[in-house]
Symmetry: C2
Subunit: 260 residues, 2 copies
């Protein structure tokens, strides 16, 4: 059958593939790191219409025949120089408000990336600037499209992920100390943590950390040298790390559409 899909039929998947509204599909990346003890995101400054001069998340069109994940990883590698296996990448979700792009209908599939501290990538041709910006310094009103919402979703997801996964280590170099890992938690959550309880907790959680044979590195400002660790095999922490802040009974519900 032909013609535009109608409610009686298209919910069965019984639609005409040639009759559909065409969408552009992009990937946008919420690329997070911890730099100088600040939880930061990679932002570009737009140099063209629309939103010229506004901040934006790096991203671009998905190519014909290209998988969504592959499109995100390709951009990550090509345009920021971050090796795929040096970062953690997961899909954050789809953002498809009909007016998110004033020119045309675009659905953006956002990706969340955790990367260790890296030099800021060189601005690509046509970019005013590319830079790491502490997430607390980002002015949501000066971001293009719906990138303020995307960024907020990514930041909140990242904060939650540190609670029940070992992904904080994705912000560290291959080998790291317990103190460095603690600074990641403190930067992402924005709260100080007791170094002694933190040490006991992370070293006591099975699968989180594996000691590196190497003895010890140097201390930046003196102090006893710390032991080195790498990420362990765990993908979920049990028990979880808990944010020490007193949680109110009601908090932001991530993506609920109704009856949150």
């Amino acid at each position: 059958m032909t013609g535009p899909p109608d409610a009686e039929q298209d919910w069965l998947g019984d639609y005409d593939p040639r009759a559909f509204p065409p969408f552009g599909v992009t990937v946008d990346m919420v690329l997070l790191t911890v730099r100088e003890d600040r939880f930061s995101v990679l932002m570009v400054e737009r140099d063209t219409h629309p939103f010229r001069g506004f901040g934006a998340l790096p991203g671009g069109f998905v190519q014909e025949g290209e998988d969504l994940d592959a499109a995100a990883v390709r951009r990550l590698e090509q345009e920021t120089g971050i090796r795929r296996d040096a970062a953690y990448v997961e899909q954050l979700g789809a953002f498809g408000d009909p007016h998110r792009d004033p020119r045309m209908r675009v659905v953006s599939v956002a990706y969340l990336v955790f990367a260790p501290d890296l030099p800021a990538p060189l601005p690509a041709a046509g970019a005013r600037s590319v830079s790491w910006v502490p997430v607390d310094d980002v002015d949501g009103d000066r971001l293009a499209f719906d990138h303020a919402r995307v960024l907020a979703a990514g930041v909140e997801r990242a904060r939650a992920k540190l609670e029940y996964t070992p992904l904080a280590a994705a912000f560290c170099d291959d080998a790291f100390t317990v103190g460095e890992l603690r600074k990641v938690y403190e930067a992402v959550w924005g709260v100080p943590l007791d170094p002694r309880n933190f040490h006991r907790k992370v070293t006591g959680t099975p699968g989180f950390l594996v000691p590196v044979g190497k003895p010890a590195p140097v201390g930046p400002e003196g102090g006893r040298p710390a032991a080195l660790y790498r990420r362990g095999p765990a993908t979920l922490l049990h028990p979880a790390m808990l944010r020490p802040v007193t949680r109110p009974v009601t908090r932001e519900q991530s993506q609920g559409v109704s009856r949150g």
Copy 2:
């Protein structure tokens, strides 16, 4: 500028909106409920090419000018009769493998819906059948497109959500007993829970349940009548409900693309 986007420019969002590969965008719903103590999903049986005779999740094209969330809610209401405020809806994620639909390039935005037990909707015109199927009885090899992956992601997300949100109540009627709520957890997680510890836990978690003034309902098979509760204002449970199963150190990482 015109022409197809290239790597140097499109990552700035500096692209020509008229030059992009066109995609179809659909919403697919993982509509979950608990029926007769079984954790179940609404499945349709396809009656047309491709995947004729295969099971599929209900879904369809997003219309021009229609928001993604609105498209999901519209389908939910129109085609299953579930009122938007009687269910919980959240986005599950985007699925965009280039070959997920053999006919054309389609990105599906999947939605997760928790609904109380309802009569199975009538098959829409052209549908062989529409029915609630216990998730453990679904044969992933007999599902159309990538719906086995979508369903698996939805089921796993639902199981996780019960741990740290009060959304189990979204599977219950407006007023419910602690015993009914416990059966939801048991059905979704597939494990028996101690009724006494469960009762103490849920009634002691602030914001989870609010007592209904009404005294008590009848018992289906005798026994002392139970008190009635409604959902409380909490959106996150603290402390969380924990699945009693012994978690291995390594488990499935939800959507990580690399370095899980």
